[in-house]
C-alpha cells in the first residue's frame, strides 16, 4: 500500500475514537509540556543568577561579614569588616591592587525647611566611579550600545576625591531627584545641607538615571540618594562602627586563588582567628569571586538537569505505556479488520506500517500539543519567582523528537502483534 494511503488509514484509526486518542495523548502532552516548562524555568533561574552577579568583575573578590541568627535577628557572626580592614588591605596584601568600600544607611537630610528621610551611601571615590561603570544604571534615554563614561553620570559639579575620603571631608553628591526635592529648582552645588544635623557641602549632582533593565524601572528609585565619602558617612550615620562591604581588586587575574588565600590570611590575622581543634579556621567573613558563584550555579544547574531528565523519562514512559495499552486494545478490537486486510493481500509489513504510523501520528500530534501547552504556560510560571523563564529554542525540536521516539518504541509491540495474527483466526474473530 502506498504511504499516502497508509497515512489515511492511520488517520482514520485515530479519529475513529477521538476521546480515547485524546486520553492516550495526554501522557505525552504532559510530559513534553513539563520538559519545555522546566527547561525554561532553568534558563530563567540561570539568567537571574548571571544578571545578579554581572556587575562583579572577574578580577574582583567580594568580601562580606558572616552573619548569624540570634534572638530572631541577624547579628555578626564574629568581628565585623571594618573600614580599616578595607583601607589597609592594598598595602598589606601583595596581590591586592586596590579596594572599594561602601556602607549603606538611612539618614535625615535637611535643607531650609525641606526634610527628607532617605538612603545614604558612603563610598570610596573609586567605588562611585565603579558604580557608574557597573552597568546596572544608565543616564535616562542613553543610546543603546554607546559606551558609558563617568562624565555622563554627572549632571553638574563634581564627585569627591580619594583625598576627601581620607580626610573625612563634609561633602556630598546628590541624586537627581533628591536635588530637586531639596532645592526645588535652585542651584544646589555650593550650598550647605545637613545630614543627620552635620553640615555637608553639596559638590555635585548626579545625572538623571534609570536602570538598564526596563523591567526594574518602576520599582527602583535610583535618583533618590545621597552619596558621601565613606569615612564621613561612618562618622555621621552610625553610633558604633558599621560592617563595610569590601570589593578587592586583584592585580593579576590568573592568580585569583592565591589572592583569595592572601586576603583570608590577612583578615584572620586582623580578626585574631586561630585554627580550631579540628585544624579549621572559623572565619567571620566570606570571600566570593565571579568564578565561585558561577561555578556553584553551574553545579546547581547540573543537578537540575538530572532531575529534569528523570522527570522527562518518567512522564514519557508513563505516556508511552498509555499508548501501548491503548494500541493493544485497539489491535484486539480490530482483529477482524486486520483479518480482512490480510485476506485481500496486506502483507505483515503493511499491517505493521499501518499501526506504527497510527502511534507515530498520535505521538507527533501529542508532541506538538505538548509544546504548545508548554510555551503557553511558561509565562504563568513566572510567579514561581525564579527569574523570568526563557524558552529554550532547542527544547522544541528535542522534545518533539523524544515524543516521536516514545510513540515509535511503545507502538512497535502492538503493531508487530497485529501483523502476527493468523488470517484464518482473525477473520473468524467475533
Amino acid at each position: 500500500m502506498s504511504f499516502l494511503n497508509t497515512l489515511r488509514t492511520a488517520l482514520r484509526g485515530i479519529t475513529m475514537n477521538k476521546l480515547r486518542a485524546a486520553l492516550t495523548a495526554l501522557g505525552i502532552i504532559i510530559g513534553v509540556a513539563s520538559v519545555i516548562t522546566t527547561l525554561a524555568l532553568g534558563n530563567g533561574a540561570r539568567n537571574a543568577v548571571e544578571e545578579k552577579f554581572r556587575h562583579l568583575g572577574s578580577d574582583e573578590i567580594q568580601i562580606s561579614s558572616k552573619q548569624t541568627i540570634e534572638d530572631g535577628g541577624l547579628v555578626p557572626f564574629g568581628e565585623i569588616l571594618s573600614y580599616e580592614d578595607g583601607l589597609l588591605m592594598p598595602g598589606e596584601v601583595e596581590l591586592i591592587d586596590r579596594t572599594e568600600l561602601s556602607v549603606q544607611g538611612e539618614g535625615k537630610v535637611r535643607h531650609g525647611r525641606q526634610v527628607l528621610d532617605m538612603p545614604i551611601v558612603g563610598l570610596t571615590a573609586d567605588a562611585l566611579l565603579d558604580a557608574a561603570e557597573q552597568g546596572q544604571v544608565q543616564p535616562v534615554a542613553w543610546p543603546e550600545g554607546e559606551p558609558l563614561h563617568l562624565e555622563a553620570f554627572i549632571d553638574h559639579g563634581r564627585v569627591f576625591t580619594t583625598e576627601e575620603v581620607l580626610i573625612q571631608a563634609d561633602v556630598c553628591v546628590l541624586g537627581y531627584q533628591t536635588a530637586d526635592d531639596l532645592f526645588e529648582g535652585d542651584e544646589p552645588v555650593g550650598e550647605v545641607i545637613r545630614v543627620n544635623r552635620e553640615r555637608c557641602l553639596v559638590i555635585g549632582v548626579i545625572a538623571e538615571l534609570e536602570t538598564v533593565d526596563p523591567e526594574q524601572r518602576n520599582r527602583s528609585r535610583v535618583n533618590e540618594a545621597l552619596y558621601m565619602p565613606i569615612s564621613t558617612a561612618i562618622m555621621n550615620l552610625y553610633d558604633e562602627e558599621p560592617s563595610v562591604s569590601i570589593v578587592a581588586h586583584v592585580e593579576d587575574e590568573s592568580r585569583m586563588a592565591e589572592a583569595k588565600s592572601q586576603v583570608a590570611a590577612y583578615l584572620r590575622q586582623r580578626h585574631n582567628i586561630e585554627k580550631d581543634s579540628e585544624g579549621e579556621y572559623e572565619d567571620d567573613f566570606s570571600l566570593s569571586t565571579k568564578k565561585d558563584i558561577l561555578g556553584a550555579q553551574q553545579e546547581a544547574a547540573q543537578t537540575f538537569s538530572f532531575l529534569l531528565v528523570a522527570l522527562a523519562i518518567v512522564s514519557l514512559t508513563v505516556g508511552g505505556i498509555g499508548i501501548m495499552n491503548v494500541m493493544l486494545v485497539s489491535v484486539t478490537e480490530r482483529t477482524r479488520e486486520i483479518g480482512v486486510r490480510m485476506a485481500v493481500g496486506a502483507r505483515q509489513r503493511d499491517i505493521v506500517m499501518q499501526f506504527m504510523l497510527e502511534t507515530t501520528l498520535l505521538s507527533a500530534a501529542s508532541g506538538l500539543l505538548g509544546i504548545a501547552v508548554g510555551v503557553l504556560i511558561i509565562p504563568l510560571t513566572a510567579i514561581l519567582n525564579q527569574g523570568t523563564p526563557v524558552l529554550d529554542p532547542l527544547s522544541i525540536p528535542i522534545s518533539f523528537l523524544v515524543a516521536l521516539l516514545t510513540g515509535s518504541i511503545f507502538g512497535l509491540y502492538p503493531a508487530i502483534r497485529a501483523a502476527s495474527f493468523d488470517p484464518v483466526r482473525a477473520l473468524r474473530y467475533e
Binding site: 490480510m342 493481500g345 502483507r347
Partner: protein, 228 residues
Amino acid sequence: MKAKRSSNHNVIETYDLTKVYSMGETEVHALQGVDVRVEMGEFIALMGPSGSGKSTLMHLLGCLDTPTAGTYVLEGQDVSALSNDERARMRNKHIGFVFQTFNLLSRISALENVALPLLYRREAEEALQRANIALSRVGLDERTTHRPAELSGGERQRVAIARALAINPALILADEPTGNLDSATGTTIMHLLRSLNEEGRTVVLVTHDAQVADYAHRKLQMCDGRMV
C-alpha cells in the same frame, strides 16, 4: 473487464492435500489427502456437513493457510510452502473472497472497500477507477459513497463481490455467501455469481445448502476430511 479465457487449464490442482491441527495432546486430521482439480471457468460447489473439512480446504485453497502435507498448485504455481508474505501476494493477485459475513471494513465507503486489494498492490491510480467499474458490474453505481452500515445485507454482499471482482481474480472463493441473507436476496446473489461464471470466471462455492449448490456445474461432497 473480461476474464482470461485461454485454453482450459486447471486453476486449482491439489495432490494428497493434508491438514493436521495439533490441539495439545490430540491431533485433528481435518484433511486426509484431498485431490481436487478445478478447470478454468468451472463453477464448483464444495459441500459437506460441518466438521467435514470443507472450511479447512477453503482456507488452503484461498492461501490463507498452509497444508501439513501434499501439494497445492494455483494457476500453475506450487503454493504449498510459501511464506506469509508470498501467500499474501498470491491472495492479492489471484483470489477474490466472498464471505458469509461480508467482511467489509465499516469505516470506509463501498468504493474504498472495493479498492482495498488494489491499494495493497500499489496501484492507487487505477484503483478507484477499477473499483467503480466493479461496483457498476454488481449494480451499485449509485451507492459507491455509502458505508457498509448504510447498505442492506444484499448490497453489502454485492460490494464484497465487487471487491473480489476488482482484482480480476483467477478464482472467486465464496464461503456460504447467502448464509446471512434472506432467501430472495440470496437468490439475487446466486444469480450474480452465476452470471459472473457465465462471463468466464472460475467460482468455488462452499455451502451446506443443496439449493444453493444447485447453481454449480459440479458438486464435490466432503466427509471426515475426504472427498466422497
